[in-house]
């Protein structure tokens, strides 16, 4: 695996370990995270149209996902 990807894997591992720590907020403190502009999938059609456009003009595509964040309700 190339050097850059080894670094990125390490970042992912760090992110995971950090996740097990004290980062974050209490369930009743998610007011800002519940806002529309803070959702990872706030504009799904724009993302799909952009992705389609860039896919047809460039050599790269995808990479995103949308799970997590938000109000954390239920």
């Amino acid at each position: 695996m190339s050097g850059r990807f080894r670094l990125l894997f390490a970042m992912l591992a760090v992110a995971l370990i950090a996740g097990c720590g004290s980062l974050g907020v209490k369930p009743w403190q998610r007011d800002v995270l519940a806002r529309e502009e803070m959702q990872l999938d706030s504009e799904p059609l724009d993302a799909a149209i952009d992705d389609h456009l860039y896919f047809s003009k460039e050599a790269s595509s995808g990479g995103r996902s949308f799970a997590g964040g938000g109000c954390g309700c239920n």
Binding site: F5, L8, F9, V25, Q29, L40, I49, K57, G69, C73
Partner: protein, 423 residues
Amino acid sequence: MQLMAASCALLGAGAARSQETHMAPPDSGLLEDWSVDSALAYYHEDGRIQAIEPVVDVAKIFADGEALNFNVTFDALSGASPNGALTSRAAQTFSSPSGKLQHRYTTAPGQLPADSNYHDDRIAVGGTWSVPFTRVDQVSVGGKVSAEDDFLSATVNASIAHDFNEKNTTLSFGIDDEFDSIHPIGGAPVAASDYESAEKQTGSKTKDGVGVLLGVTQVMTRTWLSEFNISIDRFHGYLNDPYKFTSIINSAGGTTGYEYESRPDQRTRKSAYSENRVAWSSQISTALSLRYMSDDWGVRSDTAQLHLRWTLSNRDRYIEPTIRWYRQTAADFYTPFILSTEKPAGGYESADSRLGAFHALTYGVKYAQKLPGLGGRPESEINIRAEYYQQTFDERAPVPPGLQGLDLYPGLKAVLVQIGWRF
């Protein structure tokens, strides 16, 4: 054929919005569990392709938190599509397989050769179903089918997301499988064969791709959300563009012939993506995404995009400018032309500008306005956005002898305008 693959599958995984992550975008009423998101986009490249694309996405959230999402996209493309040949000092004539009849077109001296009769319609239908099977786990499965005159694609995807750490951390894993069948108009040319002899093969060509994605989303603070994903995909099969060929140039810069392109039958891509959303105040928030991609064709790319949303009075409208910067290196076998004295014996070659070295900049702005609900119905939103996209080729791209002064790598300038309605 406009696209090699509609690999939006991983994009779609988890896109069905369950109560878990995100309620229907406008403030939904209690029993209004249906939501519709629609858009009409118009895309226009300076002197080349133009496209009209309507999209409709319908979502329903059930009483137990399950969510279903169904979407239809229609795409109509027309205009001039570059065929891979190099600009020449002499006029060039080509025969295009467009439509069912042979069509000849001529490119003037100094112009980039492009098939002006290009025309393609595409329809795509997709859906996703999400189930929150525990309070902290969600599973999604989805599929998409897309059809064009000469191309058929089917994708299935599945993903799982697990929340922990009081839902401050979410781990997600997604997998998708795509199967494409290409039946080029006029038949698929034998790779690297001579353009004039037009050796075509009957039957259709296929390719298959599998992708996996691993991601972590972390609530950093009350106002900052962070996401990081790594993904890998591998395609195998017929990866050529059957309509593209490469110019063979002599020592004086004259075009002596053309050769159909030839790409490897396998491509593996790895990417790392990060996104950070920060709410700076009740009105200003930003989303910054970064992506690094590298594949075994030698292409490496960097993408950075920033959205800045300014939510105006009463939170009923916003304006959102965006800027995107993109850069990619050329594929190992990218060659804008072949020197007749150095014709490669076998080996791969493609003059497709999508595989060249260039950087691109997008500037855009979006405006959205919420409309109050009429007669008890929840509010809806109308929006409009416009973007300007410019691709600039690497100035170190080679210039064959005799062709100095010609604009061999004009790049691309395009405009996107889109209106949308969600309710």
